[in-house]
């Protein structure tokens, strides 16, 4: 009996040691990169995503990936391997990053049809073959398996098995698509040139023109980004302060205007405060007040903002020339990361 107890304790101790050892090894095998306090100012930043654990991921030009797990105080800079060759050959731009709900699976899209997937929460990334070489500007993971990306010249690609296989979906309009969102696993919207809004009701397998799309009218501008705060209420932004809102799930759209005639490249929702944001040209940012009016936020940057994301009180906006703006109070104040 005594001997059995001892044996049990020994086995338990050995297991504990193994666990600790694996953890240490894992820690030692952590991601390599260069630690810095901000982004290289000569590179553009195009996409940002905040995981549920508040780790911030930013992607940008020349296969750049920046991550921060201390709320933006320090950043780990990496160059992702998106093609054969040395690190100097990794020079394609990465345009969008999103994590599946839960934050374990990540997706990056970029130039030349690049799609990179991470299955370990963003530590390692693998390039997937999607069958397209068009620039992909945005990606939306509905869940770990169903992911859709859109891009130049009407490019739409879709996977239903977590990236092992991809379909090229025919767009009803040969227009570049810049923004993408899904309300649920079936219903989604994509926006792009010629004020086009495309809609899908089957999880992205087929798309129809929901709004605009007159490719013969060169006086209309594009829409760049779209967000739905709930299945009924959606917002998209375009050039010169143009906004389009829907309150009936996309059946009809109404025009609105920002207080300044400024292009809005990204619309985002702070899910905690339910506040909507538009940001874009020259670092301008606008938020929607409680009365539904749009108001301009004090500028802390002067370079174009390309993407925003929020998680709790933490918000991050990124843009050209290494611009990273942070808020820790749900957008009351923003600070530029130097």
């Amino acid at each position: 009996m005594h001997r059995n107890k001892l044996r049990t304790w020994a086995i338990a101790a050995a297991c504990l040691l193994m666990v600790v050892g694996a953890g240490a090894v894992g820690a030692r095998a952590a991601v390599e990169g260069v630690t810095r306090t901000g982004a290289p100012p000569w590179l553009g930043l195009f996409g940002v995503a905040i995981k549920p654990d508040n780790t911030i991921f930013v992607v940008g030009s020349k296969a750049l990936l920046l991550t921060s797990n201390d709320q933006g105080k320090t950043w780990l800079q990496r160059t992702l391997k998106e093609r054969d060759g040395s690190v100097l050959f990794q020079d394609r731009d990465l345009y969008g990053i999103r994590f599946s709900p839960g934050g374990k699976v990540g997706w990056i899209v970029g130039e030349d049809g690049i799609v990179l997937k991470s299955s370990d929460g963003g530590d390692t990334w693998t390039r997937l073959k999607t069958g397209t070489d068009k620039n992909l500007f945005n990606v939306f993971p509905v869940d770990d398996q169903l992911v859709v990306a859109v891009g130049a010249d009407g490019a739409i690609v879709r996977t239903t098995d977590g990236g092992d296989h991809w379909q090229t979906i025919k767009s009803p309009k040969f227009v570049s698509l810049f923004g993408l969102t899904f309300v649920d696993k079936n219903k989604g919207f994509a926006v792009g040139e010629f004020s086009t809004i495309l809609a899908t009701t089957d999880g992205g397998q087929t798309w129809t023109v929901n709004y605009g799309g007159n490719t013969g009218d060169f006086t209309v501008g594009p829409y760049f980004s779209i967000v739905f705060s709930d299945p009924q209420h959606g917002l998209t932004s375009g050039l010169a302060g143009d906004l389009l809102v829907t309150s009936d799930g996309g059946k009809t759209w109404q025009s609105q205007k920002l207080p300044e005639p400024s292009g809005g490249y990204v619309v985002a929702e702070d899910t905690s405060s339910k506040k909507l944001w538009v940001a874009g040209v020259g670092g301008r940012m606008f938020d929607e007040a409680q009365n539904g009016q749009w108001q301009s936020v004090d500028r802390t940057a002067f370079h174009d903002i390309t993407d925003m994301d929020f998680s709790g009180n933490l918000g991050v906006a990124v843009g050209l020339n290494g611009t990273i703006l942070l808020t820790n109070n749900a957008g009351e104040q923003w600070q530029a990361v130097q």
Binding site: P40, P41, W42, L43, G44, F46, S61, K62, G85, S86, L88, F89, D91, D93, Y95, E111, N135, F137, A152, S176, F178, E193, F218, T219, V220, G221, P222, F224, L239, A240, G263, Y265, V281, G282, G283, F302, H303, D304, T306, G319, L320, N321
Partner: protein, 799 residues
């Protein structure tokens, strides 16, 4: 003909020889008046070096002579009517400067500094602030927003803190009048400076221009130095009449040297004025040596003709050796292929050859025509004061140091050995190129350096060019090919990782990518390469039609689109920075360009521009310094070998030369002075200058021993006679160099201190260390070797 007979020959035909020399001097005097004081920038870099040739070949991308005028406000920022107006006015005034390239005058107010703006259906290219300065607050606010939004593309002209603006201008180097340029630039400064606005100037034209600014001061120093030399000459040699003879021969040597400069149409840079001065002082020191020996021979022989002949016979061999050492010190600097050094080498050689002729041929002729120098006053030993007696005893003790065995002599020899080794180590460790961002020609607190530092903090001042040669458009590998454009942008990003790089200006990042963005609704995700060479060509065409004439040529020189210039703007031109950048480009080409099959027809050439020129000079200077020293030492060794017919003698002088002259490197390392185009000729000259002290001393000792004197007595006598003459020479040299320490040019100050240091070490080596060694080691070449016996026989046969 034996040197033992040259004296007689010269005197026999003195009228003819003297006449010929005077006629030559008269002709050369005329050419002296044709000497132009000017700076030719191209002459400072090695013509055969790859970087220099690249720069010459691609000169169409601009000149290396760039002037930077910084307008800096003390309070607020530049976005107010008054300061913006100043920027525009200064730009216009700079455009009127002599020699300016009107296509290369750029600032916030230039029509060529512009940004692209997309509106529905069109893409507009607009200058930031042309033709008018904004009239009201709204206009100024709009300008400020534009600048902030496009700051990446205008960072060369507006600083990131918005407190400074820059006006830059390139100049046509050939025929650039630095003096006029400098004066007019100073006028601009005085015109536009006020309580809130400072105007600061940087750039190669102004660095060279300051040489002319200080010309009057330097000229005064030159005259003071000449005066001091003459005074010392009078004080040390004035007890006899005709003490001024060395001044005549010195002046005539200067005429020969300058006349040669005039014939060859070399430009005379005012900063290098210290070099001809050293040569003139050098000549006078030979003249003094000759004169001193002449007086000795006069006292011995009592006949001026015999004295002239004998002095020539005795002084010619060591004098020839000494001047050959001086010539070797300077002639080898021409090997580097740097034109200004070649000019200095050639002119210096002629100057020194003139010195040889004047001192050892003309001076005896002159003295033979003049009455015998009378002794004006003699020192009376009977009436010496107590102090004089003490000094006399002290000197008597001093001259016996080499001959007195004991601790002092051993310590002297031991210390010399240590100094010798330390000097060699310092020489191997000598710094190349510029160690600081400013110019070492002037003091760090001089206005020119203060301005350079201030401008350099806000804007990059040094520019290196990387040139791409490609197939013509519409090849995928033309400069408009997407993969080529991408590679250029990759290079830009790679270089930016080096903190010494301030900016990289290339067609891809400055035009193609922004235009591609603007063409696509200004959507930022289109700030990228176009997806086809046709699209790239279309963007190029848009830019060409929307920009000012000459603007495209800053990036791509021709319509075939088969070459492009990438400008790397650096924060400084120090040796380390330049080498780092070159290495980074080299690494990039090896890792990114060469292995890429899509770039197999693209050639990458580097590094041109001013940064490339400095790099070329640095490359050559290290080799030149080593070669120069090696050749000088080899010449000294060889001539000593032939002269004394002894290997021991040759090596003895070799080590003495190293001991005395490598101390220069110790001094330079302590003072953080690098080997540059400016310092190398002075150092080279310095190496040859003092070696004759030892030669004259040893020659005298040897002569006395050959005459039958005891070795130690010969050493003491040599110290009392030749040593005094050497000391007088030393006094004249350092007396003439000393005023240069107070020159406003740091270069003069440092070089004169260096030369005084060298003269001192040479004198100690020649007058103390060598005699110590002779007394201690008793080498055969002095004390009865075969060479001595042969020489004695020759002398006996002649007499």
């Amino acid at each position: 003909m034996s040197s033992l007979r040259i004296g007689d020959f010269v005197l026999r035909f003195r009228a003819i020889i003297g006449g010929i020399l005077l006629i030559i001097s008269a002709i050369l005097l005329y050419f002296c008046t044709r000497v132009t004081v000017a700076t030719k920038f191209d002459d400072f870099f090695p013509t055969y070096h790859h970087n220099v040739q690249l720069y010459q070949e691609w000169h169409k991308y601009g000149g290396a002579q760039t002037l930077s005028v910084m307008i800096q406000v003390k309070h607020g920022d530049i976005f107010n009517k008054s300061t913006l107006q100043k920027i525009q006015d200064i730009q216009r005034d700079v455009d009127k400067l002599p020699g300016v390239d009107h296509n290369e005058v750029l600032s916030l107010a230039s029509y060529r500094v512009s940004y692209a703006e997309a509106t529905p259906g069109s893409l507009n290219i607009k200058p930031f602030m042309f033709p008018e300065v904004p009239k009201d607050a709204d206009g100024i606010a709009a300008l400020k927003k534009n600048v902030l939004a496009n700051h990446a593309s205008i960072s060369q002209f507006v600083s990131s803190d918005l407190k400074s603006a820059l006006v830059t201008a390139s100049f046509n180097e050939r025929g650039l009048d630095y003096k006029a340029l400098f004066t007019q630039v100073q006028d601009i400064v005085h015109k536009y400076e006020d309580k809130n606005v400072d105007i600061l100037i940087a750039g190669e034209p102004i660095v060279r221009g300051y040489g002319y600014y200080y010309e009057p001061t330097v000229g005064i120093l030159f005259l003071i130095a000449i005066g001091v030399m003459i005074l010392i000459l009078w004080l040390t040699g004035g007890q006899r009449s005709r003490w001024w003879a060395p001044i005549v021969t010195g002046a005539l040597s200067a005429v020969w040297g300058l006349g040669f400069v005039g014939i060859m149409k070399f430009d005379f840079d005012p900063v290098m004025l210290v070099i001809p001065f050293i040569l003139t002082a050098r000549d006078m020191s030979h003249g003094i040596q000759w004169q001193g020996r002449y007086h000795d021979e006069l006292d011995r022989l009592g006949d001026k003709y015999a004295a002239c002949a004998a002095t020539t016979d005795f002084m010619l061999p060591p004098g020839l050796l000494s001047i050959l050492a001086d010539i070797s010190g300077i002639v080898f600097i021409s090997f580097g292929g740097i034109p200004v050094l070649q000019h200095i080498a050639l002119a210096g050689t002629v100057w020194l050859a003139g010195s040889l002729t004047m001192v050892f041929i003309f001076q005896p002729i002159l003295m033979s025509y003049l009455p015998i120098p009378e002794v004006k006053h003699k020192h009376s030993t009977a009436k010496q004061s107590g102090m004089m007696k003490s000094i006399s005893n002290g000197l008597e003790w001093f001259v016996h140091i080499p001959t007195r065995p004991g601790l002092l002599r051993k310590s002297l020899l031991g210390a010399s050995a240590f100094f010798l080794i330390y000097g060699i180590i310092s020489g191997a460790d000598s710094r190349i190129g510029y160690a600081t961002a400013g110019t070492p020609l002037y003091k760090s607190n001089a206005k020119v350096n203060q301005d350079i530092m201030a401008v350099g903090k806000k804007f990059p001042l040094e520019e290196g060019w990387v040139i791409l040669i490609t197939p013509s458009y519409p090849s995928e590998q033309s400069v408009l090919g997407p993969e080529v454009l991408r590679m250029v942008d990759d290079l830009r990003s790679y270089l930016f990782a080096d903190p010494k790089v301030a900016q990289v200006v290339a067609f891809s990042s400055t035009v193609t990518m922004p235009f591609n963005q603007m063409f696509h609704y200004a959507y930022p995700k289109y700030l990228a390469m176009p997806d086809s060479v046709q699209m790239s060509g279309n963007l190029w065409f848009l830019f060409l039609n929307g920009s000012a004439p000459g603007e495209l040529e800053r990036y791509i020189s021709n319509r075939m689109n088969n070459d492009t210039c990438i400008r790397v703007l650096l924060k400084d031109h120090t040796y380390d920075t330049l080498n780092e950048i070159r290495q980074r480009i080299k690494d990039f080409v090896a890792q990114r360009v060469t292995p890429d099959p899509k770039l197999n027809q693209v050639k990458v050439l580097y590094l041109a521009g001013i940064a490339g020129l400095y790099l070329a000079a640095n490359d050559v200077l290290k080799q030149l310094d080593f070669l120069n020293i090696t050749f000088v030492l080899a010449v000294v060794w060889m001539f000593c070998l032939f002269s004394f017919r002894s290997f021991v003698a040759a090596f003895m002088f070799l080590f003495a030369c190293v001991l005395a002259n490598f101390g220069a490197f110790i001094y330079m390392n302590i003072r953080n002075i690098g080997l540059t185009i400016d310092t190398i000729p002075v150092i080279s000259l310095g190496i040859g200058l003092g070696v004759d002290y030892g030669i004259y001393m040893i020659a005298r000792i040897r002569d006395e021993v050959m005459g039958g004197m005891d070795v130690d007595d010969a050493i003491v006598l040599a110290l009392k006679s030749t040593g005094v003459a050497v000391f007088n020479t030393f006094l004249v040299m350092i007396g003439g160099i000393f005023p240069w320490i107070f020159s406003p040019l740091l270069f003069h100050s440092q070089m004169s201190t260096l030369l005084i240091f060298l003269m001192g070490t040479n004198m100690i080596a020649g007058c103390l260390v060598l005699p110590c060694y002779l007394s201690w080691a008793r080498p055969k070449f002095v004390f009865g070797g075969a060479s001595m016996i042969k020489e004695r026989e020759l002398k006996a046969a002649v007499s």
